[in-house]
Symmetry: C2
Subunit: 436 residues, 2 copies
């Protein structure tokens, strides 16, 4: 099953900025796609990041196997992926600022741009027309046409002296202006670009995101004219928002705060959205343990009336009531949680952990709020992804060079796929969900 040897040519693609059709090679012919007379559906496809070699593995969740590998995606050490609404294209956000559009059916790179020097993920608008990237270097958000990867809008996320008085500076319409300076490069008047985290899509061609350096949450509305984003700025949310999520209904945006013992919440359904602090004093401030890895909030679980979320640095999952946003319980777990993800039906919540406990995965039964199973799928579990109806979950074990697929009911392995240093796993059903 080792597939690595197929790719000695490791396609080092030319860099920055590349637009248009690039033909990265596909893999060996596959019986499932060999005949043009038998086209395949995209509903059961997905991708796995092979982070060490900049390669995307295309997988099929029905047959539970690798269909192809597409190399040439650059530095994928903190990569994330969104999908076009037809399920045909994956948009891969690389750590090095590369944004790559891959056709899952032809198994080729269609377009690729180096859009920043250091990036941290992205989102796609609800109507599928706009892809947005959140950047560290330089800071800000860039918005691209999903068909062509042409730049549509640049939102530099300025902050600094006087920035509160000059909101017009913060959004620049698409122009020839170079936006690829250094991290936080000073703009005119001493303003800097903030690093951006927690970027999510909202209904109606809008995006929300958090400014790590500016302690703010911004909402960008591109529904009228995508080249001129209308910004709503919510400052003073608390120190160092490091990641965020939107609830599955698109209503609540929640940013985790690295510099505070609490989180920031915005009810996006309010006519004038404002920030509320929640879960103050949950224990982040006690810092009883060093933080080995920042948890991912995008993986927070909302199951029924409760949100399950990783307590930073603690061996606990917090249980929060989503009507009051009060903590209603804590569940002891085997390590510092990283991803805390609900099975789509909310009956189970699966958790993985930071080093040194990252060979384990635990399963929480939500009605009883107890850990009912501890699995050891392999070394260095980095991510997990449920099939859309939850009957299977795929778990990446980076240091064992494999992805293990479990039946979630019996918690027994169904398949093992050999992949090179697998990290993030993303299925096309994300295209149909908000906040993914």
């Amino acid at each position: 099953m080792k597939r690595r040897s197929l790719f000695t040519l490791a396609a080092a693609l030319p860099a920055f900025p590349l637009l248009g059709s690039l033909g990265a090679c596909a893999t060996v012919p596959d019986p499932k796609v060999a005949s043009p007379a038998e086209p395949i559906g995209t509903g059961d496809l997905g991708v796995v990041i092979e982070r060490a070699r900049g390669t995307l593995a295309i997988v099929d969740t029905t047959q539970r196997r690798v269909l192809a590998e597409v190399p040439g995606l650059g530095d994928l050490s903190h990569a994330s992926v969104v999908f076009s609404r037809d399920g045909r294209f994956a948009y891969v956000f690389g750590r090095d600022g590369g944004l790559t559009q891959v056709n899952l059916l032809t198994q080729r790179i269609v377009a690729r741009v180096m859009q920043a020097g250091n990036a941290i993920g992205g989102a796609i608008s609800a109507d599928g027309t706009l892809v947005a990237a959140q950047n560290y270097t330089p800071g800000g958000v860039k918005v691209f046409d999903a068909r062509t990867l042409a730049l549509v809008a640049d939102i530099p996320a300025w902050y600094g002296p006087g920035s509160e008085d000059s909101p017009e500076r913060r959004a620049a319409p698409s122009s020839g202006e170079s936006t690829l300076g250094g991290a936080g490069a000073a703009g005119d008047g001493g303003l800097k670009r903030s690093r951006v985290v927690g970027l999510v899509d909202l209904p109606g061609r809008r995006f929300a995101f958090s400014l790590f350096d500016a302690d703010a949450i911004w909402i960008a509305d591109l529904s009228q004219d995508p080249t001129r984003p209308q910004l709503t700025q919510l400052p003073g949310i608390g120190r160092q928002p490091y990641d965020a999520l939107v609830t599955p209904d698109g209503r609540h945006y929640i940013a985790g705060l690295f510099g505070e013992d609490g989180l920031a919440l915005v009810d996006l359904w309010e006519p004038q959205p404002r920030v509320r602090r929640i879960l103050n004093g949950y224990g982040r401030g006690q810092q009883p343990l060093p933080v080995y890895k920042m948890p991912h909030l995008r993986g927070w679980a909302v199951a029924g009336r409760h949100a399950y979320l990783p307590a930073i640095g603690r061996h606990e999952v917090l249980v929060v009531d989503t009507s009051t946003w009060q903590e209603v319980g804590r569940i002891p777990v085997a390590g510092q949680p990283v991803f805390v993800i609900a099975r789509p039906d909310g009956r189970q919540v699966w958790v993985n952990f930071a080093v040194p406990d990252y060979h384990r995965v635990q399963v929480i039964d939500t009605p009883s709020q107890r850990v009912i199973d501890t699995l050891e799928p392999g070394k260095a579990v980095l991510h997990l992804e449920f099939s859309p109806r939850g009957e299977q979950v795929w778990i990446s074990c980076r240091d064992d060079q494999r992805v293990v697929v479990y039946d979630t009911q019996r918690r027994a392995p169904l398949a093992t796929l050999a992949l090179d240093a697998p990290s993030g796993i993303f299925f096309t059903a994300r295209a149909a969900r908000m906040g993914f």
Copy 2:
């Protein structure tokens, strides 16, 4: 845009039981699919039932147009559709008992069986391997292999004198036994087959359904051996269950009762599921108005903590708290509601009506629980379907021979598609959801 004229050959397919590959003709070549070098994704595909001529229109929700029409599906006067997990196949349940598998990419009928004399819809298992049909004539449920439409299990739904003592009679493994007698044809010992309604998929290769004639809810578990369903029978739920739904999390199964002023609820997460009566005395029993059309419960809306449901015979939508299952409000609407469907984010609920008010659609804003818009998309509005992220809704206007697509935010039409007597609209994203 009229496409009817293309199909004078109206493919009257041979009947009962047909297995294997039938080549019903596809429509004119389409630029989107003409080139095998440019395969298309299935995530943005859907189908519209053209009920009067037994034809399925394949549509694309990105370009908002008809890609092809597939005739030869028999009587589609109360048809419903489920999708394979890859989004490639639609399974169409016809009123005449026909079950037809259509490949959306080749735009052809792949297999077709006449599985009953009078049928009322179906479901697909969470893992996509089993398709189940609910039947009126003869009663019961039949389960098919999703790949081949070969019969896997027959669940006749016996009821009558002594039936409570002989549960083994109620499930028959797949065998040569003919199950195509008349409606409620007497089995041995005077037992009859009940008409079955409210069939839904549950996690783990299970199905739940209601027995209209036997006042019962049954749960069939096919996870061990699909040919030998394990049945859990819940009798005495109240008179004449006429339709049912499962909540989006797969936890609560709710059957509407035509013969009672209330509904039957089962919490499927309980170790020993049992039936509870809810909403007793909501007004069904007052019968202040003749019932022009039975509402569809599958269309019930669960948005946030509330379920919105049609009050039978009344010009009202009931609002129910899903933790207590108590009524917490009523919203006056323009007629007898038929479908009451939440936009996927739950921010809006859209309602259509029985004759004589079936030229209108109303939009409820859920935070304020008020009607905020009344649209008149055309004559005889029969169904509506949201795109998976809710930015658009498709509305079928049977007597105006068209489907109108609206932007749900601005409530302005985006497109109009000419179709022959359109009724049900179904998008492939249903494959990723429970209870659809």
